[in-house]
């Protein structure tokens, strides 16, 4: 995790209003916070995250304002009121603070003893400073917002009537409006979730942080970069290896949250881990060079291709790049940070075998645009980003009917002679086509072979149609998680895996053979019904009754979790009075299992001995 602001990354700025602003921070640019002011990106680059800065107006009114780091003690003092100001820390000296602990105004009125709220009059007219005057004050640049607040407070006639309690509240309320402050925050999953939720929650299916955490837990998402590459019993397909299937209608938020847990979301930050100042220095100095290097990659690669023939080499996914001409060139959007300065190895896209995410998508390209905040532009992926090799995508058409997808069909092969006669540009094209096909074929084939460790779904699609196709691709013991904003779709899903339905399904599958030999149906009423079903109806009806194979999942459950947030202030601790409504957000979870083939299940259930007799006898051993 980055602990300080780096150039060409996305960061979040929290404004006094509580609003978040996302900025892709480039050196030597101005960052405009609207009414709060403007400052230069250089003033926060290289500084630690989570610091709060105050914009100090310059007397000349021309150059960009100074930034002052607001020390923790000051922030806390304001929140608490003077009575509870924590002692200034020893470490404060190191911070360019200006000595002030807490608000002047609160300080001055600190002596005011607790008074009754009853006498306070909440009347806007009692504030003698008019809005215009406040604006004037601001324009005049009379110092920071703190001064303005002090003046407003001073001019507030009823100020002495206020109790300490409401004064603290009042201070806070005013500061929201007039304080020229911002806090620099790293743009990570939590921050992005908060940001999107405030603006367009529907775009992430109203997912909350707690739900994301729960999804990743139940799907057992973890870093599997050291997992073994194992072959399943069939001797061909891979089993395990830390590979997850994803159906993601949240613009990639779910994918990103999983990638974060797998250690493949952020571009590598070796220097930071290395820790030495010099390394950091070197890295930042190298940045501009790096950028040019990236732009060079395509040409470089093409040359390699031509000289090495069919070597498995990828250009930074040129076809995808062409599809998104509106995207910025890589040098600008990405944060290239290769660990070595040497020309990089050419690794095919989507080629990782372990620790991977495979996104199943309904359109030609997956919509995972939120990944751009983490330096990964799907239209123009940077080969140094871990997602370049670890994130794969397969369309539903490719998964179910690969032969109908043109990119799956092998392009013609040319003999070496024919190749030699081609113009170099044509030859380049030829290889490009073959490589694209090889990639598609590899990814589609390996996906169809299954053996995935888990499946995570967050979609508006009919989930049963997805599970029907995809559950068989999950390995035994693999985890299934389906998110839905509403309970109903998951309740329905649970019902498709209900005990009764499973019993009926098994009876249908394996029942008929027994019917001739015994009279078990007495205790297995479903048998009869299903005989009728199998005899009289088409597949269609069966599909209605059994849209999925109910024997493939163990312990299907629906759950929900919600975080309730509190205000914690001395003598004023309570849950926040209001919060977001909307979707509650539910999870369906289950484990993929391998049912005993061809046998009717038997159980020594605690539901009474009587019931046991029938089904038990039906177990062929």
């Amino acid at each position: 995790m980055h602990s300080y602001v780096r150039p060409n990354t996305h960061i979040a700025l929290r404004l006094p209003s509580g609003q978040l602003k996302i900025v892709e921070i480039a050196p030597n640019t101005n960052i405009n916070l609207g009414k709060y002011g403007t400052f230069s990106s250089n003033q926060i680059l290289g500084r630690p995250y989570y610091l709060t800065f105050e914009l100090l107006d310059k007397d000349d009114g021309k150059s960009s304002p100074e930034l002052r780091v607001v020390p923790a003690s000051e922030l806390h003092a304001e929140a608490l009121g003077s009575d509870y100001a924590p002692p200034a820390e020893a470490t404060d000296e190191s911070v360019p603070a200006e000595g002030a602990t807490g608000f002047d105004i609160v300080g001055e009125d600190g002596e005011v003893i607790m008074r009754n709220n009853r006498l306070t009059v909440d009347d806007p007219s009692r504030q003698t400073l008019s809005m215009e005057e406040i604006e004037e004050l601001k324009k005049a640049g009379a110092g920071s917002g703190k001064d303005i607040i002090a003046r407003i407070m001073a001019s507030h006639m009823g100020i002495e009537e206020k109790t300490q309690f409401s004064l603290a509240k009042y201070t806070l309320r005013k500061s929201r409006k007039y304080m020229k402050r911002f806090t620099v925050l790293p743009l990570d999953i939590g921050m992005l979730t908060e940001y999107v939720t405030e603006k367009e929650a529907y775009k992430i299916m109203e997912l909350r942080e707690e739900t994301l955490g729960l999804i990743c837990s139940w799907a057992n998402v973890h870093c599997a970069s050291s997992s073994r590459i194992l072959t399943a019993e069939d001797g061909v397909s891979q089993i395990g290896g830390g590979r997850w299937l994803v159906v993601d209608d949240t613009g990639g938020l779910v994918t990103a949250a999983m990638a974060e847990k797998m250690g493949i979301l952020y571009p590598p930050t070796e220097e930071e881990m290395e820790g030495s100042e010099e390394a950091e220095e070197a890295a930042t100095e190298a940045a501009p060079q790096e950028a040019t290097l990236t732009t060079n990659v395509p040409t470089e690669t093409t040359e390699t291709v031509e000289s090495n023939g069919t070597q498995d080499v990828m250009v930074a996914d040129t076809e995808a790049g062409a599809a998104s001409t509106t995207q910025n060139p890589p040098a600008e959007t990405s944060e290239p940070r290769p660990s070595t300065r040497k020309p990089r190895q050419h690794i095919p896209q989507m080629s990782a075998q372990a620790n991977t995410l495979t996104v199943l998508h309904p359109n030609n390209q997956p919509n995972i645009s939120h990944l751009k905040y983490f330096g990964f532009d799907t239209g123009n992926p940077v080969p140094t980003h871990p997602l370049y090799t670890h994130l794969k995508s397969v369309s539903w058409l490719q998964l179910l009917h690969p032969e109908e997808d043109p990119s799956y069909i092998e392009p013609e092969t040319l003999t070496d002679d024919a190749l030699a006669n081609l113009k170099s540009s044509k030859r380049g094209n030829y290889y490009k086509k073959r490589r694209r096909w090889e990639k598609t074929k590899r990814v589609v084939d390996e996906t169809r072979a299954g053996g995935f460790d888990g499946l995570v779904i967050a979609t508006g699609m009919e989930t049963k149609t997805i599970l029907k196709e995809v559950i068989p691709l999950v390995r035994g013991g693999g985890k299934i998680v389906v998110y839905s904003p509403n309970a109903e779709p998951l309740v329905e899903l649970c019902d498709y895996y209900s005990k009764d339905r499973r019993a009926a399904y098994i009876a249908r599958e394996f029942g008929p053979q027994q019917n001739g030999t015994s009279k078990k149906m007495k205790t297995e009423p479903e048998d009869d019904e299903d005989d009728e079903g199998t005899n009289s109806t088409e597949n269609g009806d069966d599909d209605d009754d059994f849209p999925v194979n109910p024997t493939l999942l163990l312990a299907p459950s629906v759950q929900t979790a919600r975080a309730r947030h509190w205000q914690v202030l001395p003598q004023r601790t309570h849950p926040f009075m209001t919060s977001r409504g909307g979707a509650e957000g539910y999870l369906f979870t289950a484990t993929r299992v391998l049912p005993v083939e061809g046998k009717v299940e038997a159980r020594g259930h605690g539901r009474g001995k009587k019931r046991k007799v029938g089904p038990d006898a039906a177990v062929p051993s």
């Binding site: 020893a90 290395e274 009754d545």
Partner: protein, 512 residues
Amino acid sequence: MTPQPSPFFDPGAQSVAGSLGVLQLKRDHLIPAILSASSDSDYAEGHVENTRFGSYPHSTLLNQPWGTQVLASVVDTGSRSSKSKKRKRDEGDEGENGGDAPTAKAGQSKSEVVKAERSRSEVVKAATASSGFAHLVPPTPETWTLCLPHRTQVVYTPDYSYILQRLRVRPGDHIIEAGAGSGSFTHASVRAVFNGYPWESNADEETTAKKRESKREGHVYSYEYHAPRAEQLQKEIASHGLDSLVTVTNRDVYGDGFCLDSEDEPNADVIFLDLPAPWQALKHLTRSPPSPAVLNAVSDASADASDTPQPTSKPFRSPLNPKSTTRICTFSPCIEQVTKTVSALRSLGWLEIGMSEIQAKRLEVRRERVGLQEEGLRGANPTAATVQEAVQRLRDVEDRAKAFHGLQKVKQDQVMRRAEAKKRGEKTAAATSETNGKSGAAKAKLDALPPSKHDRLERAKRDLERRALFKEGRLVHRTEPEIKTHTSYLVFAILPREWSREDEDKARKKWG
């Protein structure tokens, strides 16, 4: 020999001996077992997991693809008595060392298992029982949390998921955890920080030499002052193949803090405190020595008076990674604990302080069947489903009553007539035949009537056999019968990197 990967991260295609497997009997009923092929056991079948849902010899669980549905076996549980007594005693001895952790099954050390495997005698092949099954699933922090031997309160999935998410715990992070308790959170957090084993990067020098320099392996530093608990956790961690990733330390963190012998440990990025008095541990979690004023503010008079650190000659060492933003979460059931913790956090300069609680619940999904067809059946509501059904039923009852009264009348008439006839001294035979005829007709009339209650119940039972209950009724959901309405309050905070004047000057020089 290179160590085996942990079954928590890479279980392989199938279960193997000496490794943890989980037998899942019901949603919340799971049994952990270090699978063993040895015959060193009370049973002829070797090691056996006995459950309410049947017996499962390890021989039937070994080398099975994960997720396999395993049928129960017939195991003679009676004849083991002599052997088991001895066994019991052995276990008892062990248990003394293990203190308050009687269920040590999953915690058996590897060497124990290996030793057991060496014994020669053959394991008897188990016969499949006529009933009972379970599923063999690989362990995950979620399954482990459901079946771990409880020694303390534990942190459950909804809480730890949110905590780890909100703390932004990532592969490669170092996390401090205190107290370790039963190790539920330990397992969840090691999954979150895991990014490879230390022995891996040591193995192939050539290729990873470069990488190793830069790659920092995720690690959990776990502290527990209750010695038997610490010991027990250490055993479990080892038998789960996690010992190279988790360092369990038996220590009182209030007094002695978190620093370990090695300079670069714990070097923590993240902290989780599940302790009765987290504020007493906070003074050890600073980047620089806290001032006396701050220490004063942080220590609470009564409990802390004695262990306010004396000015020692020991040079200050921070347990925190100076290069990262430190994130912390404390987990306390009571609001008073929260108040104290938060106030200490403020004094020590932590930022972004917030408190939340997680409210989680599971839903029960079922089909609710209502209607007269359910009469006498279990698990359904046998009242009329509609007004029409109700009216029909009332009519039926009336009709039957009418017919019944009619019949009664006929009978009465008969009796009367017979009595009269007797009085008159007439022959009874004719009367009888006459009555028969009449009552027969009445009976026929009754048959055409709506069925009696008895008949209805019979019919409902018969009908049941041809009904598809799995799709009848209304699909409903509701909160599970028992919910945890409160687990604990979660206090979160952040400590940014230290930022000095020099740092600022440097940054200014670099960025202008």
